[in-house]
Symmetry: C2
Subunit: 415 residues, 2 copies
Amino acid sequence: MTADIITIGDEILIGQILDTNSQFIASEFTKSGINIRHILSISDSEHAIINSLDLSVGKVDFVILTGGLGPTNDDITKNTLLNYFGGQLITHQKTLELITRFFAKRGKQVTDRNRKQAEVPDSCSVLLNRCGTAPGMIFLREKTILFALPGVPFEMKELLINEILPFIRKKYSLPVILQRTILIEGVPESTLADKLKDWEENLTEFIKVAYLPSPGLLRLRLSISGTNINELNNRLNKEVQYIINLIGENVVFGFDNDSLEQVIGKLLINKGLTLSVAESCTGGNISHLITSVPGSSKYFKGSIVAYSNEIKSNHLNIPKETIEKYGAVSHEVAEYMAKGVMKFANSDCAIATTGIAGPDGGTKEKPVGTVCISVIFEDKIISRKFLFGDNRERNIIKASLSALNMLRNLIKVEQ
Amino acid sequence: MTADIITIGDEILIGQILDTNSQFIASEFTKSGINIRHILSISDSEHAIINSLDLSVGKVDFVILTGGLGPTNDDITKNTLLNYFGGQLITHQKTLELITRFFAKRGKQVTDRNRKQAEVPDSCSVLLNRCGTAPGMIFLREKTILFALPGVPFEMKELLINEILPFIRKKYSLPVILQRTILIEGVPESTLADKLKDWEENLTEFIKVAYLPSPGLLRLRLSISGTNINELNNRLNKEVQYIINLIGENVVFGFDNDSLEQVIGKLLINKGLTLSVAESCTGGNISHLITSVPGSSKYFKGSIVAYSNEIKSNHLNIPKETIEKYGAVSHEVAEYMAKGVMKFANSDCAIATTGIAGPDGGTKEKPVGTVCISVIFEDKIISRKFLFGDNRERNIIKASLSALNMLRNLIKVEQ
């Protein structure tokens, strides 16, 4: 089955906003086995909307059209669809009730302008919008079903996931497509591709693999399609386990929407452990990631961001001679920092980072991107030296993720 | 003048990547006075490419087409353009030289596959690509000029800014459009709109205003178009100054691409001051923002992330009775934290935050979103209490930006 996506809005064409709706719809339709033929963004003009409909109606099974359903004068999508598909405007009672309740809940009066949002062409079926005031609409012409949705992302998403995809699945037998994303830290894309080469070459065509890299992270997405959900699930589990065995548990920190900081949070809660951090080159980013997780105050005690050597020696008890002898960016200093902050915060485990994020500060022996990381848990301490790249932002992200994964591996092993 | 944008790539249609190229091109063309008629994303297929060209050629002045120019088998844009515009492939010597140098610099041999990238239809003019291996191409049919560019964002941007826009400006007299974006902290969009209502109503049609909100920040973009660049510049400066006078210097922290952390970095360097931070609810985010600026080690000494009350009382010298009496989220504690970290780090000024980021931890007196912030410089201390919203991520961002702007106002005033 095929679909076209049409997004309507002058703000897209002048580059004021990024059209993220199309990516979301394309991803969800692809997962459901529907191929997207094209994505078209057009202005809030009747002429442009009608042209875009002529390009799609009769040529694809589905059209998803978003935007231009709001209450202001520049929102002309509804009247254009009325002209295109025929019929006349009628008030949709259930929508009017929803709108009235929507404003009552916020202690506001319903205006005539709001009330008009409950009017729909009698040539469409209505999709109730439980997150906003503009209802979705379904039109049919030739073989094409057109879904018109509001452009506000969370309203569009709610209608797509809870109304449109179930509607399509009920009407048509779509292939079953399962996806699992393996989350990998610290393995370059090319290295992983080399390791998976033989496996990939022997895959059947029902399994597809996508490499989705971002700084320090690699998401490997497996998609499998067929008809029997149990068989597909078993096969997917088998392939995922094969890959984990091949590349090692230490680099695989989670699946799908997990984040490293969430995974660590759960581990710490399960084991009843507390954490502290001493950050030099990561400058607070590790603490920021950890505290971005709701409930992190249960296991996170705090940090010292020791940007100056003065703080390193005064408050993390690093002997000045150690800094002078080995340099601030060294295993020795990282280990002192980890021990020092563990004592400072009275925590069970700790992370420490020291490095040269760049763009300045590099030397021949320690170029920009050199980072030393130590993680400590009770009397076990592990240290590693990394050489990342020359981009400050990426170096901070990569060092933060490497440090979190080192901690995960240390406390995961220790029972 | 009008233009269409065409982006080519299966990865866009399956929702694997977000098409950010289109927004960039749309924004740059709009700034140059060229109207975008539509943005079309299609698959790597000859049929789809030719259909998309038929929709644009002869109907708009310019077409910008990106993607599908790489060296692998799924990149078919070049051969499709050859079939569409006619001619035959010839080797472009200057491009071949660039490619050879590109690989030599990386210590790699040029392969046949790389060499083929220097082949172009003799029906086009070549745009030299100094950032990658695929050259840009210019074709002409009817009244339409088509620019074909690689899809890699930084290669596309370089060619658009340094080659295509100068090429168009040389050939056509485009209107002069100047933009200035005023960066505002801590003012809700509706409040600003109310303040600017009279001013907006009396604007001439040559000045356009866009409100671009993001958590804690509001960017107000003014665009002015005409023919005389000096007159436009004077007028724009006058309007910008009028707005600053109206809303107050304290909330305007910069212009265009400034960030609050960069502005503060410059202020601290100019005044020869050092900074430290004590973070509770912001959890390291303020330190992270400050250290994201290259060279921040010149003025940033470090931080304490005091997530536990234990760290607050042990290391920031906050009397336990103060925490018990006023609560950890209070002016009193924030002020102790600011004084404590200034002493801890031996810095000239300091920031402290304590609050309830959410989703848990709120009470009737101090609901989720309550944040107390203190900033201190020598013997001057200023404290404010905020009530943000119920979203943890947004609360952390808003508290961080408010804290940075409070510091900016404190040290800006103190000479």
